[in-house]
Homo-oligomer: 255 residues x 4
């Protein structure tokens, strides 16, 4: 069971709702993933226009916890303003803090992310900041009261997987709050690697929405999260330089 602030989830897979080819494909992928948490950009949600087709209408909102994010924010002020707007919609008091430093890499601004986290924790949000894989910054975010830490594996949408598993492991080992690997995951193998490092969960979007068959990939990701978590709990064998016979090399054959 994954606990983030006052929330509890059976599934350790968070799914983003951007970039699907259609709302119908998105709906099927969400279902296949068996996720309980859906992220979306507040910017994308036209909550003031009742006439527009809306992705939320396609979903059974009783079944999902919504995790709005502050995508599009490039300053502390923008992130805070978007977060407040999200809360005003009464959808959820969780917020994924995302303050982007530039549009080329979409990497998070470490200083602004930390400051926005401080403010939103103070205001009573359940705060999940998207951050780099810097273990020191992750520690500062936890000290600032973040309810979970969301370090990126690699740049958003790049599909490069986990560029620095060594630092991600360090973050996981030290963090007093859950660690959700967010951004850069490209395939189920990346998910399993993240979960075997001990991550408490993963957040996916492009890896599913951009796959040739998004619904099948959503199912693949569901099993990958479970395989990785079970593998982490089961305790893998150590790596050895040479060999170790699984079948005895000498035996009772005497013919």
């Amino acid at each position: 069971m994954l606990k983030i602030g006052k929330y509890e989830f059976k599934s350790r897979l968070f799914l983003g709702t951007g970039k699907f080819s259609s709302l119908e494909v998105q709906k099927q992928a969400v279902k296949a993933s068996e996720t309980e948490v859906l992220t979306f950009a507040i910017r994308r949600l036209d909550i003031y226009n009742p006439d527009q087709p809306n992705f939320l209408e396609m979903l059974d909102l009783e079944r999902y916890t919504l995790l709005p994010n502050t995508a599009g924010a490039t300053t502390v002020e923008e992130a805070v303003r978007i977060a407040r707007l999200a809360r005003a919609s009464n959808l959820c008091d969780m917020i994924k803090v995302e303050v982007i430093a530039d549009t080329k890499t979409l990497l998070p601004d470490p200083i602004a992310t930390l400051e926005a986290t401080r403010i939103l924790v103070e205001e009573g949000f359940t705060v999940l900041p998207y951050t780099s894989d810097d273990p020191v910054l992750a520690r500062k975010l936890a000290e600032a009261g973040a309810h979970a830490i969301m370090p990126g594996g690699s740049p958003i949408g790049s599909g490069q997987g986990l560029l620095n598993p060594s630092y991600l492991r360090l973050i996981i080992e030290e963090s007093p709050v859950p660690v959700i690997i967010d951004a850069g995951i490209g395939s189920p193998a990346d998910v399993v690697q993240a979960m075997e490092l001990g991550a408490d969960g993963v957040l996916l979007n492009t890896a599913v929405s951009g796959a040739k068959d998004p619904v099948k990939m959503a199912e693949a990701m569901k099993w990958a999260v479970i395989a990785g978590r079970l593998g982490y709990e089961a305790g893998r064998i150590p790596k050895k330089p040479y060999a170790s016979a699984s079948s005895p090399q000498e035996g009772m054959l005497t013919s």
Copy 2:
């Protein structure tokens, strides 16, 4: 559906039966893995001693296809003799050819493996040779009539995973028969990587039997095979050097 010679399997996970702490743990792990193929060393099976406790008695043999191996053989002659002995027991006509070059690395002898494969194909066996990750040797084995190719990821029992995914991919792309990655797998992440390369299956032993919780690891491996296969079929996103927004960075927020 995985087809090897005249056999068909729903599960793409082959499980070795050596090295479990007890026959009871092995039985539970076999069950949790939902494997349909069990490998074992003919040398280990005391088929002439009815009084000894026997791992086969613990299993419902109707449910499993047995894949005896020639572990312990260091020459063509030994491998062929062990294979004939296996067939004489009427357990199965499949044989995993394993001719080991030395006890330090347990790496396969390429020349003897090819020769033993030729002879056993000639004698009507369904032959699955354990081989290195050399694409040329894999091709020669297929030309010699092998019904599947079993390249090792790394030395048996080492848990080092796939040392050369590039050559394994080459083998998979070219092989006219199924490719089962055998040896060296250490964790579910290795399994998913193998399956995403396009492998038709994996054979595990130490990774399960040597885990702290072998039964839980067996279940992890079951899901890893499925996640990797689905991911392969679903078609992953390409890797890009930088970023690609999953949430739109500009939008309708106008407050």
Copy 3:
């Protein structure tokens, strides 16, 4: 020619002076490396005790530019105070800003490093901050006026090499000031990798002082920096998935 602020260097190898087994070995290693820049911790230099043997006395100070660092500082204030103390000694106006977040990882504190850099630039120092491999922070340091950026390859003294070459490359591509890879380098291969990424230089310490033969390793590192730089300038071949004959496979042999 490497230019940092008002300084120019022919050698792209900076060498740390800590942890050698003796001042004599250090002297020989410094000579073999042909470095022009020596770093040292102000804390380690007992500049008030004329009776103590001092590593500076062993060196021909006309030949080297000294780069004092603020090792030991854990706050902005400590770093600034140590830097001022260094300048008061009239040894050099260059300062390597090092504000460490914890003693387990010795990773740099991103917030304090940026703030100390701002202050010391303001005070007219030539400032080289030791930082993480976060491209966003590196950009902020350059904007703050740093004269060079010193991202770590991996934790100080760990010998793990470059954990995230992808982000280091990004830093190098974007930086308006020289980039010196600092920390974590373990062997000449790491040095060549850094230089081939386009780094302007490397800073080494433990990799030399901790080698079995520090003087020979210092020479190895000298050639590694040159090999990597020449390789970068010469423009390497692209990687291709398969093969490309260097010897013609068809030809004039007609016997």
Copy 4:
């Protein structure tokens, strides 16, 4: 000093002579590399046509040992015939055995390479077989009397570097004769990695001839070989998971 059969070399860099843009560039690159051994395909050498411009005429043959190769051979018979032709030219009794399995990968045929090696050793050649990174095959080649083993890092001309350093290390540790890493090297970093593994030398061609500036790359490779060898001899530091201060973190600063 590198000893192969009756030959001794100061340089550990072997250079191929194929694929340069001109004989003049080749000549300068050969000089910059300070190699002592030049490889070339017998097929390419029109030794019966005195009118054709010939790369050998461009070189001071007193300074170089020539290592003809059997490139183009796809069978034992072809390789042996080409080798005999090479010896008949009185250029050298060394022969690089190269029996290629297919033109897509140019990977060596393990069976034919071993057989050709046996025959040519018998006939008194100094034999250097180009082989895969299979440690078992390397051992068999040494047992067959090969005077050096030349495992490929990756497919010829691919620039992928060392795909399986683990097996190359195994080959090096076990080999009673020198090991020259041949094929696939793309940059100086690959060379240093090979030499730090303990290789006795490297053979390059495309990495130099295909570089944007082949002469500068030749010089880079010269230093890379030296850096890697010195680094191997000097004994690198072990890798540690976290940090180890090179500057003392506590000290005498008392102001």
